[in-house]
Symmetry: D2
């Protein structure tokens, strides 16, 4: 937090849930993290002028525009943050890369594997830094989980069960939205990409998948309360059986019709010597079991996040005081800025976003084939 280097201009495209979260995270990261570059909120873009103006004022952007291409080509913008609906990511990110910008893109990276690959290849060819918005991976306790697994604390990993379930589409009268467009990709792309990314973060590459994809609500009103309905073709629930390159098998489930669940992003991992259980619903807790010591006092330990789990201590010096959702986004941004400043690139970058997309796409093919398929 001492001497901070030169400023770097940030441009954010989109001013919705994620646009706001990105802007806030860029502001906060610089206060909390010792960074080699200091972000400045240079410009915000929204094709709705009112939204752009409001975001400019409330987040303290220097400028705003209705035209994202202006933002992408602005010489003072060095980082482009793409927070628009998925089908727009590809064009925007490629334009930003072409303009030599570092690109921070929300997940899922693209609507299909080919698009994600082009984005990854362009970024790697251009040598710009990239980041995909899998913010949940930034939880200090998941970093701990990953280290425990890598360090052999669980022994040989034998099983993974991962879930990302919410209920924002559970009501059959919830209206059609961009997430329901075929290009949007359904729940497998929207929430499934988070839990696939998490599975890979903890256990490495996935080599095969069987998938069951299901559309539960086959038509929805075009607007809240409207009698006019529109057919839904994308999946509301996805159930995957996977195998990891390391040998372990597992299941991955995604649902946005899971009544009662607001943030059931979680997993249980079993190994020959121990186990781990986590749910984002209680994101400051990690349950850890280790099959050693006297039998009569074994059991899952409830580890609470604290300063011994970096970078928690930058937010709060006292254990158990709780990080929140926005704090994860701040860590994501700090990691990205660190990589841009020459530090370790912790990712997930566009290559990782593409790897996730491959799992998503193979899962779709598997669901059609009703059969297990290898991930290319």
């Amino acid at each position: 937090m001492d001497d901070r280097g030169p400023t770097i201009g940030v441009g954010v495209i989109g001013t919705g849930f994620m646009g706001k979260a990105h802007a806030l995270a860029y502001r906060t990261a610089a206060s909390l993290f010792p960074l080699a570059v200091r972000p400045v909120l240079e410009m915000v873009a929204d094709n709705d002028r009112t939204g752009a103006e409001r975001a400019e004022r409330s987040f303290g952007f220097r400028r705003m525009t209705e035209d994202w291409q202006e933002l992408v080509s602005d010489p003072k913008v060095a980082i482009v943050s793409v927070t628009t609906p998925t089908e727009l990511h590809h064009e925007m990110a490629l334009a930003a890369i072409t303009a030599g910008k570092h690109v921070h893109c929300e997940k899922p990276l693209a609507t299909n594997e080919a698009g994600a690959r082009r984005m990854m290849e362009a970024a790697e060819a251009a040598g710009v830094a990239t980041q995909v918005g899998f913010n949940y991976l930034k939880n200090p306790l998941l970093g701990l989980a990953r280290e425990m697994i890598a360090g052999g604390e669980l022994g040989e990993i034998t099983s993974f069960r991962g879930i990302h379930a919410e209920d924002y589409m559970a009501d059959p009268e919830a209206p059609f939205a961009w997430r329901l467009e075929a290009a949007g990709g359904g729940v497998l792309a929207d929430l499934g990409s988070h839990i696939i990314g998490l599975a890979r973060f903890l256990l490495g590459p996935i080599v095969s998948v069987f998938a069951d994809l299901e559309t539960v609500v086959t038509e929805r009103p075009i607007a809240r309360g409207s009698a006019e309905r529109r057919a839904v073709t994308v999946d509301d629930i996805a159930r995957l059986t996977v195998r990891f390159a390391r040998g372990a098998g597992g299941t991955i489930e995604a649902s946005w019709v899971a009544s009662g669940r607001s943030m059931q992003l979680g997993f249980e991992i079993a190994g020959s010597k121990g186990g781990l259980v986590f749910t984002q619903e209680r994101m400051n807790e990690l349950l850890f079991y280790r099959a050693d010591g006297p039998q009569f006092r074994r059991g899952f330990v409830r580890i609470e996040a604290g300063p011994e789990h970096p970078p928690y201590g930058l937010f709060c010096p006292a254990r158990g005081h709780q990080l929140g959702f926005n704090d994860l986004k701040t860590i994501e941004v700090a990691d990205f800025l660190s990589a841009i400043g020459g530090g370790e690139a912790k990712g997930p970058d566009f290559r990782e976003g593409w790897e996730v997309q491959k799992v998503v796409e193979t899962a779709r093919l598997s669901a059609h084939a009703r059969s297990l398929l290898p991930i290319p």
Copy 2:
């Protein structure tokens, strides 16, 4: 608890974990439930004489034998309880049915579908009552769950996630045992049958299955500490993707290598209007969500078992005082005695045991084919 009718002789084959549980349950059921027939512990059989004698004394059986066939043909024995390893069920149950006995058999019913079918057909032809030992279904809160589903409290059911995971085989040095014999059937038959039975209990027939079966520990010592090893060919983990006749999809997982888990028999069910969550680890609690009432106070309700959930009140008149594992076996026995006495046959009977076996067997075929298969 008022006037109880004639006595009925019970013969129990086997004196291990389940033999003891059955004997205890027959003794207790008569004290707690108002039954039309009164069970008498007539005879116990164990090919180990010491075990048979000890069981005779401690449980108060009138007689004991080393020869199960003597028990089966004894005129004073009207109910035969089969608690031996799975591969013995078929012969013993058929002999008992032939002798005109009612048969209470532990799960899984048989080592394969054909055997289970013969047992079911023989029992139905003979007109004797049957019961399979899926004791967990007897939890009063699962009765409530079933009623809630049937009564439409959750709306249209959209998803099921069921698990039965324990860790008694997690240690790679845990020795070979009868459950690991090919005939024993692996975890899918041993624990999977419980959660398949529970899925059917709550949601009805399963019509298709994709399965991933995995042997994690491929050889084990022949005895604790022995250097001699024996190959294991049965599954340690089973992951099923299923579809129910009612339309909903789901997943079912069974594992006996789930480090840290002693009794993770649970499920989460989602419907268009609500959800249910349960784990046998906290068997006196059922979590229930319903999407109605003001949004600001919605959430999962933790329902504690109480006398308002029959037959809890026969065990204890006060809510939240907790039933235990053995109490479920007592209810199982009481239900069976009630059916024998002319009351409602609540099951699960041999037909249901056969239905479960069909799912198990189709799952095995699916795992070989790496493809989704219909249940015959």
Copy 3:
């Protein structure tokens, strides 16, 4: 469970909640525990003949009577179990002791300290075995907790917070009942005695107390729905601040108007090196913290009851399968029978019941004095 000695006749006075629980426990204890004496349900007494007859039949008592004095003086009855309302304990127990019987009495032992003392003194003078029905102490996990404390696992104990809260009197329209008679003693005597007994079981003698006693519902209908009301003078809530002879301080709370709570009998204990948390609502779990090992993986361990916590294994050989309320009563009875048969007297006996009564009585005096008082 091998060779069991001579039979011993049991007489139970009372056929309500506890009468039934006692009868069941005597029946079951002999099946599960290796006992030196074998209980026989010799006689049951209830001044309501119908109840007595029903209990005789359903629990298999050899005889019944409407006259408890007949039971107490019966030569075949060697153990008298007193399960009537508190104000009757004194007379019945003294009569039984005079007749040379071993006495098993429900809690609280008496309506006042003087009565409890007379019962204790009489029993000790007569040399009969006694047992008070603090069944919750029989939880195998509380035995573990006590051992951990005694063995120094928590370091020096610094604090205790104990609670027994239920809600069966929370409804202001719940009618008057014997527990509300001045002689019954209010919640401090009814539920408070459980948690006081538990505090003593874990941490030893209490030497001073400050108490706040409160009657929340000052009059109640004489029967459900009746317009006629009767004044209530006993406490609905009791809040105690205590100090233990070992030096630690603590609080103890009892309430029967704790809306939403059915069995909140629990505690949290802190020591210089660790902590313990328990609630009877999840009676098969004990949370244990120990301040050692690397900081980053410390936390409360959730220990599940298993065969490594005797006598759990007599009920079930598999961890996490859950004991229930009635099982605790069975252990209580087994311990009593063991003591009668010459084994270790684990208590709690009448002396312990009297010690608890002294805390109750001093707490009442403290509440009047609004000041801290020493326990005599």
Copy 4:
């Protein structure tokens, strides 16, 4: 978040845990809340120049000083935030008030009641706005709890049990620190003030108190590992029995030697119709019980924080995504800025800080007297 009014200069005294939290909160509040005044980080003061410079840089203060009096008298500073050890609050706050500044002071407000009263009186006479740093009260779910109580959802309140326990002083070798100075006030002042403030927030004034205060570790090393020791005279544990003006009774406990607890700030409230349970360890959950509807599905509802609990939605539009510790500080600041800008003064202000101090001081007197005392 639309048109924001004039800027207002903020000066923060202190750069430790709370200094950082305040600076961050002033920065973030302006981004998230629609405020009438826009805070500018004008100046930071720390008598350690290095700390002051570091804070200036990392949080983006315009200026820094080693002399807090310079900050207090600076004409561009309109808000003074006091985050120093408790014994310094009085002088600093009075100086700021004299200079006409609005004052935001950490808790506890002062080291004694007289000091707190002077601060309150001075502020009210000067007409400046004040805020005390009871940040936990800003949890949206506690706002909901308060509304539920006020709206009669629980019926008549009958009991409160409040706890604030942590373990940062549990290790007897933890060194002496300013919190252990007699002037610092011990755990009753440090953590107890939080839970007393919360009790008052939910249930209103407290009218009497009995207290048991205890010093568990009577001497500590003067520095980590030092052989030199210093006597500790302040309380490590405080146990209060209280009565509220509304009639209900309750207990309040504070401990900083509660091994295993990092943030056990919680309560259970019972009323004639319902109950509430909360712990800051799971600060995004509130358990709510209501004694209505059919008995068989009653139980505590786990309410997760969401946009339906303002101002959660300003942080995140999706339920269950979790607020964190720093977010509460942001709400505290936003509320203060709102009051300064002419909006509702939600407090807690210096008058409330003084009221809490009175409870603390009377509790100390009660502990000496070993007797119940009225709050003046």
